[in-house]
């Protein structure tokens, strides 16, 4: 089921201009030989804004996936820049596992309020309550998000969904196009992807199909942190070092919480930790870290010997192709 909280709907971005008077002549200033090469972050930002604007122009009813996690926050920041000073011309969609970190949910609501966005929530809990989904034996809910996501896309007639997926996260994601077609069942066919040439993006599709759009495909985790630092983007506090009651399971530190209770042989300790990813609280691990600022985190991530998913996600350890299989079914 999807619930809708309407804050503002903006009809600010038009694709037609108005007739008007012709202009005055002006002189062109002479060439200078300044170095005009974009830094890596500027090049990544320019590419992401290009993609966001192009899809806003091509698609009729896009939405942006917003979980309150760092990647979706960066994507939202880029969207804000892309349309400034007009508001973001599409709603944000959150697939709520019901296993949230309370800080992340609070951050989500604050951000939606601050930017005047319309939030659509698809709730995994509702599906479990009415029997459309069944809780898994291992209790994790990340894989259960696919059905509510696809239903929300259908019910709202979204023809494109912006996601914060990055190619450096995982080997199946490394194969993704920036604009990636999903069939009428929401499926990804990695063996038959559409060519994607130059900077020309083509999201056309048949009725019932939709596209997933990944504007920050080419960003690495370090790029994300350097950008958050440079742009001074506020994040949920659990990304920064804090003391927390945790216990050890499957080589990860899990927080003590309503959906993650230690077993008898898992002693609870208080440790200085932070989160590299935020997801289903029952299977997302914290990392021990003293990093309290964006700059410290960027350095820590650059020196890390583990990928962010390897360090923090129990559900990705199920099998070699867990992510690929989920993505084929229509996962983010």
């Amino acid at each position: 089921m999807t619930t809708t909280t309407n804050v503002t709907a903006a009809q600010a971005i038009s694709t037609t201009g108005d007739e008007g008077a012709t202009g005055l002549a002006a002189h062109r200033s002479g060439d200078d030989s300044d170095d005009r090469r974009l830094s890596q972050l500027d090049a990544l930002e320019a590419e992401a804004i290009l993609v966001i604007r192009e899809m806003a122009g091509e698609l009729e009813r896009p939405a942006l996936l917003f979980s309150g996690g760092k990647d979706s926050v960066v994507m939202l920041h880029l969207a804000t820049k892309a349309f400034w000073p007009a508001p973001i011309p599409f709603p944000v969609l959150h697939v709520d596992t019901g296993h949230n970190f309370p800080e992340v949910l609070a951050y989500r609501d604050e951000t939606v309020e601050r930017l005047g966005l319309r939030l659509v929530v698809a709730s995994v809990q509702d599906y479990i309550d009415d029997g459309r989904l069944r809780e898994r034996a291992d209790g994790t809910r990340n894989p259960l998000q696919t059905l509510p996501l696809l239903d929300a896309i259908n019910d709202n007639r979204f023809d494109g969904v912006f996601g914060g997926g990055r190619r450096d996260e995982e080997k199946a994601r490394a194969k993704e196009r920036i604009v990636s077609l999903r069939d009428e069942f929401g499926q990804w066919d990695p063996k038959n992807q559409r060519p994607e040439l130059w900077n020309l993006f083509n999201p056309r599709h048949r009725p019932g199909e939709h596209v997933r759009v990944f504007p920050i495909s080419n960003w690495t985790e370090v790029d994300i942190w350097r950008y958050i630092d440079r742009e001074d983007i506020p994040l949920a506090p659990l990304y920064y070092a804090h003391e927390r009651e945790v216990f050890r399971r499957d080589g990860m530190w899990l927080a003590v919480g309503p959906v993650s209770q230690p077993r008898d042989d898992e002693p609870v300790e208080t440790r200085l930790v932070r989160y590299r990813t935020v997801g289903d609280m029952s299977c997302t691990g914290a990392v021990e870290s003293p990093a309290r600022t964006n700059a410290e985190i960027a350095l820590e991530v650059a020196a890390s010997t583990l990928t962010e998913r390897g360090a923090t996600r129990a559900d990705d350890r199920i099998s070699e192709a867990a992510m690929e299989d989920r993505k084929k079914e229509g996962y983010f």
Binding site: T15, G23, L24, R36, A43, A46, I49, K81, R167
Partner: protein, 439 residues
Amino acid sequence: MAATLLRLATAGSVDDGKSTLVGRLLHDTKSVLSDQLAAVERVSRDRGLTAADLALLTDGLRAEREQGITIDVAYRYFATANRSFVLADCPGHVQYTRNTVTGSSTADVVVLLVDARKGVLEQTRRHLAVTALLRVPHVVVAVNKIDLVDFSQEVYERVEAEVRAVARELGVVDATTIPVSALDGDNIAERSERTPWYAGPSLLELLEALPPSDDPAHESFRLPVQLVIRPQGAARDEAHRDYRGYAGQVASGVVRVGDEVVALPSGRRTTVVGIDLGERSLDEAFAPQSVTLRLADEIDISRGDVIAAAADAPVPTQDIEAVVCWLGDAPLRPAQRLLLKHGSRTVQTAVRSLNGALDLDNLHAVPADSLSLNDIGLVTLRLAAPLPVENYSVSRRGGSFLLIDAHDGRTVAAGMVGATLPSGAPAPTEPEGDEEWEI
């Protein structure tokens, strides 16, 4: 200044070692994290291999691992002290050529692999032809599996001469060749002692030394308008109620506040009065920045129009000649109707004539009455509305377009305006060998 980004794509025939080379480059620059390496070692061990198969670092799909081939492009990232790299590991199999074209269309450098034992194969020619057509700025030829020919200088020189001959016929003059073993790491990150007769740089040294892209100041200013930004009543700040801006990415050149510009295809002139990047105002913007231009006059400009320097704007046209790489499953035929996307505009088009196709054996144009998947051909197109296209040799952005099947929305061709096919006549030798190459 912060590190610049270099985009690399691999090319070459199936099994020539592209994925192994990318894996080796990542491994030897210490860019593989320990859990990724452990996963690759585990899979390699399960298959009875004695060493980690580094191709598994990019061959991440189940079907790729089952068959031991690459099906689609994998993107990987690594950085050295002064450069960041995006590596696009492309497939070699002819069936997946469209994915290889995808990977090389945005590349600054293509690394073309050739198996030292096999020399130039049909796919080597096809990929080199595509690389030349796309005008990828740099080409490196890696003569791979040099370990399997006993590190023989003679074999290397024979293959090198063979590749150079093909490259010359296709108009690629600046290709550098390197003898490598992707499997063992010879001449990949460091120079190998096993090829003492080779005095050149390792692949990594070469990549780090490639000159950066040209300064956009040498190009003409163009900006395809993606959106007209008019917040009106929805403005979050009252001060922006009357804001009107034209959003897009600077495709080429530089634009400054005060410049006179022209909107195309209308031809109306005006002056740039402001340049915004988010809430920051800039004095100038240059390619490839994504910005919003404010103009002195309220002239008619919509999404799909191009804002260009008034002094040297392109002339919109409805008739174009272009080379296309055909990527559709169904063939291209004369008189066919399609959609054409150029910049941010999509228009209808009809194929007026098919003027020839590239014969990959003899490397020259031959008559053709249709183009099949992976063929390269020369076409004349009639557009339903005039577009300010440019010659691809002058501007990669202004001269590139997609052909799209209107029925199902698929992208069926990559097009390059004004490009030509080799005539079969011996290529003229370049008087000054400075990166000029023509196909």
